[in-house]
Amino acid sequence: MIENIDLSLVDWSRAQFALTAAYHWIFVPLTLGLSFMLAFMETIYVKTGNPEWKRITKFWMTLFGINFAIGVATGIILEFEFGANWSNYSWFVGDIFGAPLAIEGIFAFFMESTFIAMMFFGWNKLSRKTHLISTWLVAFGANLSALWILVANAWMQYPAGMHFNPDTARNEMTNFWDVLFSPMAIHKFLHTITSGFVLAAIFVIGVSAWFLLKKREQVFSRRSMSVAAVFGLLTSIFLVVTGDFSSRTIARYQPMKFAATEALHTGTSNAGWTVFGIPSQTEETSMKIEIPGLLSFMTYYDRDAYVTGINDILEGNAAQGVMSAAEKIKRGKEARQVLKDYKDAKKNNDEPAEKRLRAKFDDPVFQEEYFKYFGYGFLNNPQSLVPNVPLTFWSFRVMVGLGFYFVVLFVVVLWLVFKDRLGKRRWLLWLMLLSIPLPYLAGQAGWVVAEVGRQPWAIQDYLPTAAAVSQIDAGAVQITFWLFAAIFTTLLIAEISIMLRQIKQGPKEI
């Protein structure tokens, strides 16, 4: 089948989805993080009764509102794309995706229509405590809303809690909790929302630094920075911890992605972690600077542990219990053949064959030995299992490097705030201001690792992207790609210009 697929269709469909998701992710993390910072700032206001904190909260709330308004519903386009460009995938996924997305829709609807309105309109109409509760509920609602979409994404990386129905060609959810609490879902959710918290903290610090550079709003800026630095430091440490958990989960369930992030072609014991090197798609990394044993230790808490390489996965490694790609492809083709035979038996009204073949899909041995590799049956060349190694390698290092930079930045800001030396080091204020784009870059790099690193799969091991696309004209996808690029760029320009105008105006007097 893969040979018959128009690769330009797959590439344009992927590019369009990546573009939409990347733009969507520009708006989302600030909403996730800033909502909690508003809640903390307003809590201080309610506790202290100091109107300056109300002023601080209201200013950041305005910026939150701008970001929320521009970003709202940009994710819906992804759902349009599922139906139009990825119809095989959408059908195959069945109700697995439907349930989390429906819950996400309900959460988003109630949160947006109720608590956000109470938060924005209720300053002079609700009691302080009721208003504060609304603000907290907006924060929890926004982050819970993100939970469901991330659960859906995690299922694509680690399909669990489902059973394939050969009559409908759809996966049916057998255990909601397996989907919700899969190790991939938990770590993805925690790591992703925490990245939003860090981004928001740097945003607040950067904007406050601008006020200090302009010698405006001294008290406002220092107080905003103190909240952001504490929040940012705690969440950035948590971000590193959740990143570590995520990494080990990937090593276990997506070993090819893990090997690609390390550009590890040949598996080894006592594997070193590459700090710097020139990775290659097919060869070992050159000009490598590595810390011996660190990769094995970080992955398995054991310096002598064996870390699987790309070649182990392609060629197999019996000693380490790794099945070869050729064997998986063979088993996948058999699983596809059973599905085809079942379809033909139904068509020819061959009841005994139909009954026999149908029973295979309920047989745990067939599920475990063959259907588990269903997606491999679409592939002919084991090399197609290898994602873009240099891109995955570098994206991972950009993300991790920036993650550690953020921890240091928050420590520095916190130290300057407590020592009351913020205004004395202008270059540090400039550094804070210029750091605003960095968490956005880190977030995008993280998604590149997650999504490029798991290619060729749309659903890990079950459905490759080439088999997931709709049979539509690649030209139509190309047109909508450029249309989206124009729409989202316009929205981004609108957001930045409205936000800059509000920032220049500064917080209003109460």
Binding site: F80, G83, S87, F121, I487
Partner: protein
């Protein structure tokens, strides 16, 4: 409190639930109306949201993103058959 008479001609004063519910709805309605009226930057944002939703749901959804399986097949059975065909060919 409002007078309420039952079938046995016993009349009492009770809270009128309908009135009260209407009153709450009115207050909620007024809460939103006042909120929208007092917006400053929000008006621009609502305009952007309106244009954006129009482009997404009317222009993009209708003209560029018809659901492939829904628009090409009449029922789920046909859709299943098509996808199985795609997965096994």
């Amino acid at each position: 409190m409002f007078p309420v008479c039952y079938f046995n001609n016993v009349c009492t004063f009770e809270r009128n639930k309908f009135f009260m519910n209407s009153h709450i709805l009115y207050r909620v309605f007024k809460f939103y109306v006042d909120g929208f009226r007092s917006m400053t930057v929000g008006k621009t944002l609502w305009m952007i949201i309106g244009i954006k939703l129009f482009i997404m749901f009317v222009v993009l959804k209708l003209f560029f993103f018809p659901d492939f399986l829904k628009s090409n097949f009449d029922n789920d059975s046909e859709r299943s058959e098509y996808v199985i065909e795609q997965l096994t060919k």
